[in-house]
Subunit: 171 residues, 4 copies
């Protein structure tokens, strides 16, 4: 796991208080990475063939995911300051876009079983998530906690792994 | 491995003395993570099917395990101060509860071979461990070394991998 | 992922400015590691047998790749200063040489399918990359940004995974 | 890879000089970990059955290996000071002993193919390595560079992967 939670210098309960926003950021990023890990795994397992464009798209997704620890730590240690909370949202949005591109790239590969396209469908959940993130980023500049609430809302939407794929492929 | 042991600045034997509690914490967490890794591996191999609830439970377990480095480092660098030692116990207890939930979730999946439920049984060892941790946490606030002794006791109980599962499935 | 991007202390947009060269270095190294990971995976999958020399060559490649985070961080935090940018180029060149040696070592193993040698061929792309790196290192001492542009040029050349191997083995 | 090489603050060639011992320590540990990784992989692949004692022995080996980054960093940043160089040797010796125990534990498992015992044989190379380490540790307290030379000598002995196992099992 790439996320990190550094122990405080002091050894009393007071020392834990500034850790609270750090811990909350950590928990949200942990859940988000868990969701991506799961859905990514399902997506690649459902695909039978890949090509160069898929590898590009996959690397792009991994790039944005690799920035989660940065965004998480900055938002947490500044206790949800406006700019860091907005930057975190930008990273979330770009990861969401990259996942969408990856799914499209996989469907577009010659010889892909049509079940995959059926399973992913219009990917409404993915599009809605990105729209929420894009809405949340400017909000973060004025009301960062509201934006953070929107980030949590997206995680709740996604937490259940992508049943569409499982269902369509089990037939 | 996610645990970390930082080298001291000085280069004499004295420099190693404050590292002793850090090293002891590190060793206990290493053993605990090894035990979880082993039993988790056995548990998932024995299961034939998983569902959404299992994935939730698994993510929850991984979340608490991911906090072991934090708890270990804080307890070690404060040389078993009361609050950090109690916090470490809370993390251990919550990981224990999450493992218990994961086992239940796995048994409850439709189509799971009954051998798994037989193998896990009443999971007495898991319940006792959590009870010891829950007892140790308040003790840690007054006698942290006694609490730490209880944490070691649980590790000793668990060190042998879960033979029940192996045995029941080999039949 | 071994690369690391540390969050700034401050929480305003100004704090992001010194991060720009760090971020650009990070992105280039991410792409380079992704390319190596991909081609390395293809290369080893195409090989049917390995021997002691292959293991040596593989360890050598991993050694230079393991220095990417060091080179990346130094070049980034000094905002493309001459010496760090040259050192980064040296690491890139040595990784390129090690990859070349690994490919040769794999071809030379007794019992290797001839398709592998055909697929790798003269490895013109690998040789050109190393030549560009070797040219870029002295340039870095005077015009580090030009050298960095050359590093990017090599990444662009390599980004597409090694189709030669795929093509030759699919026949 | 768990080893770490931190970039210096300055950006000139001078800044690299204190990194030289750090880099040399890093390189030796990298090679040692590569050797263990290789031989460990061969050993476990050659074994058909494992038991609880094997898991204990394996965890013990991983424990000492997990201390390599600590020993490496301390020895490197103190430029081969006596105590850190001796401590590094102790870690190397204990990892060697743990590997020996693991091999014995694997042979002793009921139902293990006799080829494994034949392949490992008297494990002369392993015993000699530990003896060299045990000799080097007291030497390190007075002549640390001589001790370091002995550590390198052991790495050279081991670099070739354990052909005995491969050979005996290929028959």
């Amino acid at each position: 796991m790439v996320l990190e939670l550094r122990p405080p210098e002091a050894n009393d309960l007071e020392a834990l208080r500034p850790l609270l926003p750090v811990f909350i950021s950590y928990a949200l990023s942990f859940v988000n990475l868990g969701i991506y890990w799961n859905n990514h795994h399902h997506l690649l397992q459902a695909a039978k063939v890949v090509d160069g464009r898929v590898l590009w798209a996959n690397l792009l997704l991994l790039f944005w995911l690799s920035l989660f620890p940065f965004g998480t730590a900055w938002m947490g240690q500044t206790a949800f300051a406006p700019i860091p909370t907005a930057v975190y949202g930008v990273v979330l949005a770009l990861a969401g876009v990259a996942y969408f591109i990856l799914a499209r790239a996989l469907i577009a590969v010659d010889g892909q079983p049509p079940a995959l396209a059926t399973a992913i469908g219009s990917d409404r959940k993915g599009i809605i998530s990105v729209l929420i993130y894009v809405t949340a980023v400017p909000i973060a500049l004025f009301l960062p906690l509201v934006a953070f609430g929107l980030y949590i809302a997206v995680a709740v939407i996604w937490f259940v792994p992508d049943r569409r794929i499982e269902r369509a492929l089990q037939r």
